[in-house]
Amino acid sequence: MEKQVKNEMKIEFLSKSANEAFARISVAAFASQLDPTIEEIADIKTAVSEAVTNSIIHGYASTEGIVKVKARLYEGEIEIEVSDNGAGIENIEEAREPLYTTKGNLERSGMGFTIMENFMDDLSVESIVGLGTKIVMTKKIKKETTTY
């Protein structure tokens, strides 16, 4: 059965670090329509923050560009897409390894992808060197069973 989209949103912003908070708060506010728990919201915020930060510091590095964030709500599930037209990733598999970073000198810990994988249910990464990177992550939002 085809999943039915309940709602959809898209935001675009300049790759300025001040927008990291804006992005995660926007997605969290949108996700609240699915009635998630506090923990689920915290997971979504952290994963969005990781993805957007990566676009800003790795994708665009010292240049400036547009970061796009899309979110789609399904019954009991949110899908979030974060994309940039930045540097791209040469070896995606290697990049997804825990502790792998190309910016150790800038105090990056190489844990971003690991956190996204752990805090969300699914993560896919597409990237072309010189063209940019798109990551799509989904999370199931459990239905609270309330008994009266």
Partner: protein
């Protein structure tokens, strides 16, 4: 971030009030390094009591200061690491090298 100096113990406490993302960590790092270099503490404590959000940037911030402080023989600790922060720290393995304390217990050191 509020910075507290305890002169007699050569203790420096960073009480963090921001959301610890890449943006905030850049600012905090500069201030923390300035205070550390100026004060050369024996002991540095990051107090996370007021932190409501942290991503991987927080790991980088703590590891970076740990290396600096360790470099001149000081000690770094973390305090009030609540569950949401602990989950992020746990993944990185830094809880194995940096002690998490419940209170400052200033009288015990010195």
């Amino acid at each position: 971030m509020n910075v507290k100096h305890f002169m007699e113990d050569r203790l420096l406490v960073f009480e963090i009030t921001e959301e610890l993302d890449h943006h905030a960590c850049e600012i905090i790092r500069r201030r923390a390094d300035y205070e550390i270099q100026r004060f050369m503490p024996k002991r540095v404590v990051f107090d996370f009591n007021r932190v409501v959000f942290m991503d991987s940037a927080g790991i980088g911030l703590v590891i970076g200061r740990y290396k600096t402080v360790n470099g001149f023989g000081g000690k770094l600790e973390m305090m009030n690491v609540k569950d949401n922060l602990r989950r992020v720290f746990e993944m990185s393995g830094i809880l194995k090298m940096i002690p998490v304390i419940d209170s400052l217990e200033k009288e015990k050191i010195s």
